[in-house]
């Protein structure tokens, strides 16, 4: 009994410490967003803002069209998530289940493109989108996701490979064509993986800086991260506004996590085989 208690308290202490390590930076960000400039830079740092500067948040709203920025980010993110889920899963299905020449070497090529840093691709992409007259629109930001990005392909292919062949064969016996197998059998069975890919794409797109900075030029087309960065100038010290704006941009991410959490903990997909 005593040993059990000891073990339990030790694990609670470890959990408490590690959650504090996670939580304290977040808390200090919340506090920083409520300080004025003098408190923000104070040495030694003062943790608790006094007086609490709620006006930072309203000031941020006044300094830029943050409603518009949020809307733009939402459009880009939602379209990207839909595009990534459809395109990556279709390509992944082909790589996992359809026989075609050079399948494995093509897959290696796909994996190889994952190694290319995005900065290297940005100039050719810029030229392509310039020639398609798509600069300064939101299109380049989500269009690429509809063309199946390698990470998503890899992720979905691994999930599809784990599905036993028996499912496919019984579906075939019942008269399903490959598309129906993909749509009716594979998609529902890989919900957790889809959720992972959705959350991953959501976060990448929501926080993306490089592409929007390069492709967008008009203020009304800016996405949230660019809007937030434009609060800080070359010289001026209003970092507390930047922090407040970053806090605001966190809200949608937190909401998505709250709703998507159950998919992460959802059980295995092999329960159907006897």
């Amino acid at each position: 009994m005593n040993r059990y208690k000891l073990r339990k308290s030790v694990s609670y202490i470890i959990i408490t410490i590690s959650s504090l390590i996670m939580f304290v930076p977040f808390l200090s960000t919340v506090f920083n967003s409520l300080k004025n400039y003098a408190q923000y830079t104070a040495v030694p740092p003062k943790w608790i803002p006094n007086p609490v500067q709620w006006s930072n948040y309203s000031e941020v709203w006044k300094l830029g069209p943050f409603g518009q920025y949020t809307m733009n980010s939402a459009i880009v993110t939602v379209l990207s998530v839909i595009g990534a889920l459809i395109s990556c899963s279709m390509v992944a299905y082909a790589f996992a289940r359809i026989e075609f020449p050079f399948r494995n070497s093509l897959f290696m090529v796909v994996l190889g493109t994952m190694m290319i840093p995005p900065v290297v691709l940005i100039i050719p992409q810029f030229v392509i989108f310039k020639n398609l007259s798509m600069l300064d629109t939101l299109t380049p930001l989500w269009l690429l996701e509809w063309l199946a990005q390698p990470f998503g392909i890899f992720l979905m292919r691994q999930a599809f490979l784990a599905i036993p062949k028996d499912y496919e064969e019984s579906a075939k016996l019942d008269g399903c064509n490959p598309f129906q197998i993909y749509w009716r059998i594979f998609m529902p069975m890989c919900k957790p993986t889809f959720a992972t890919l959705a959350v991953f794409t959501f976060m990448t797109k929501w926080n993306e800086i490089l592409s929007p900075a390069i492709f967008l030029t008009s203020k009304e087309n800016f996405t949230l991260p660019i809007g937030i960065l434009s609060l800080g100038g070359q010289y001026n010290g209003s970092e507390q506004y930047v922090v407040a704006a970053a806090m605001l941009s966190l809200v949608p991410i937190l909401l998505v996590f709250l709703f998507a959490e159950k998919y992460f903990v959802q059980g295995s997909n092999s329960a159907g085989i006897k």
Partner: protein, 452 residues
């Protein structure tokens, strides 16, 4: 059979995509040709001018206001603004230049003008400046003059270094305020009386604990607000007048660096590692953790925001009485490809900015930079307000210079800092830092200039 259909589909798709790319590429180039009309009906022709600049939310509003005024007085020019946050602006600009799609006129950080000029991206403005701007009416035109006497930009606003001091901290330590007669040694003597540890002991006290400094005598960071003014007023420097050869390994530089390293060893100045404990490298002075700083004009914004009781004066003299004030002239530059009406329109914008009192005054009201036009800079509107001795910024033009800016400025500064920071941290002696820096910087210079 299935394979064949698939292949055919893929082929059709590929052809479609290719043709749409080609089509839009063609339509893009025809538009440009339509724009070129005979010089006869130049006046009536509408021109669209692409204006690129970096901004914050606060400065962007003012810029838009000025753009509107410019369009009102130039009805044939329609300005399309392209702004981005500072860091992203130059990332985008490099991409745009590589793709041949840079704005017609843009705002360049002063230290980056030669980078674009020497790589052939900018238009030579020598003749236009000679024709339209009266040289003596403006501050800092020469800061964009290269070694061949060519001008590549017109300053948008000027950053110039002075000595900032916090009056409250001087009063608390009972130290007399800095004067214009100060040498760097006078500054260090005062800094000793102003450096305070967490137990409330000043550095002059035997019980002073250098490991627990709460307040530094002088904060010190990197080039502009760190080593460059010290090096130059000690008679040293980094590059020779051709800006292609390193002169780092000199006795003057050794003396200057000894002065700095001694200050850091005695904890009167923060080392680069000490600065890491602050919100930013710029934070010690506004957060009252430093009694003095070498600061450019824009630092008045932070100091005013933090509500400091402070003032400014000229930077100290070197051992031989030499002074040096570092300058960064952020400038309007014109795209080399902007020709005919677009080139004219671009120059109209630059001229509007520099010559109109209204534009100069409006921009100065942001408090970000010293106005380029002398009459505006010397007006009460600019000189009134905090800090009281704003005149010091204008007086410093007498001994001001750029930061040995050339086409590979960012690269050599990086190399120089790598070595010198190790000496500041006490890892290597000053001699060794100088000889390594000399070799590394020369290599950077040779890689660019020898290949050309």
């Amino acid at each position: 059979m299935k394979h064949l259909a698939f292949k055919r589909g893929a082929l059709i798709l590929a052809v479609l995509m290719l043709s749409s790319i080609l089509l839009s590429a063609c339509s893009g180039s025809t538009k440009k040709e339509e724009g070129e009309v005979s010089p006869g009906d130049k006046k009536q022709e509408q021109v669209e001018l692409r204006l690129g600049y970096y901004s914050s939310a606060q400065t962007d509003a003012k810029m838009q206001e000025l753009v509107k005024k410019f369009q009102d007085s130039h009805p044939n020019i329609k300005v399309k603004t392209e702004s981005a946050p500072y860091g992203q602006f130059f990332q985008k600009l490099d991409t745009q230049i590589a793709a041949g799609n840079a704005p017609d006129v843009w705002l360049s950080d002063g230290v980056l003008v030669p980078k674009y000029a020497e790589r052939g991206a900018l238009k030579d403005l020598t003749d236009l400046i000679g024709k339209d701007l009266k040289h003596d009416d403006y501050y800092g035109l020469d800061f964009n003059k290269d070694v061949n006497g060519k001008y590549w930009g017109v300053p948008q606003g000027i950053q110039i270094g002075v000595l900032y001091y916090n009056k409250d901290l001087f009063d608390a330590a009972k130290v007399a305020y800095p004067t214009t007669d100060w040498t760097w040694d006078d500054l260090k003597a005062a800094a000793e009386k102003l450096t305070l540890d967490t137990n409330g002991k000043y550095a002059t006290d035997a019980a002073f604990d250098g490991k627990k400094v709460k307040q530094y005598g002088l904060t010190f960071f990197s080039i502009t607000e760190g080593w460059m003014p010290v090096l130059k007023s000690f008679g040293g420097g980094v590059l020779d007048p051709t800006l292609q050869k390193s002169i780092i390994n000199s006795p003057e530089n050794k003396k200057a660096l000894d002065w700095i390293v001694d200050g850091m060893n005695r904890h009167l100045l923060p080392t680069p590692a000490d600065l890491k404990s602050f919100q930013s490298n710029m934070a010690p002075f506004p957060s009252k953790a430093a009694a003095m700083r070498i600061g450019i004009y824009a630092r008045t914004m932070d100091a005013n925001n933090a509500g400091l009781n402070y003032d400014v004066t000229l930077l100290p003299k070197g051992p031989d009485g030499k002074r040096f004030s570092p300058v960064i002239a952020n400038s309007w530059v014109i795209n080399k490809k902007a020709e005919n009406q677009i080139g004219d329109a671009a120059w109209e914008w630059v001229k509007f900015w520099a010559t109109t009192d209204e534009a100069q005054k409006e921009w100065a009201s942001l408090g970000e930079a010293v106005p380029v036009k002398k009459s505006v800079a010397n007006s009460d509107q600019f000189l009134n307000g905090k800090p009281a001795n704003k005149k010091a910024f204008l007086d410093s033009f007498d001994f001001a210079g750029t930061l040995d800016v050339n086409a590979v400025w960012s690269e050599w500064v990086g190399k120089f800092n790598d070595s010198i920071n190790r000496a500041f941290q006490g890892e290597i002696p000053v001699d060794q830092a100088l000889s390594t820096a000399d070799k590394d910087v020369q290599q950077v210079l040779d890689e660019f200039y020898k290949k050309k």
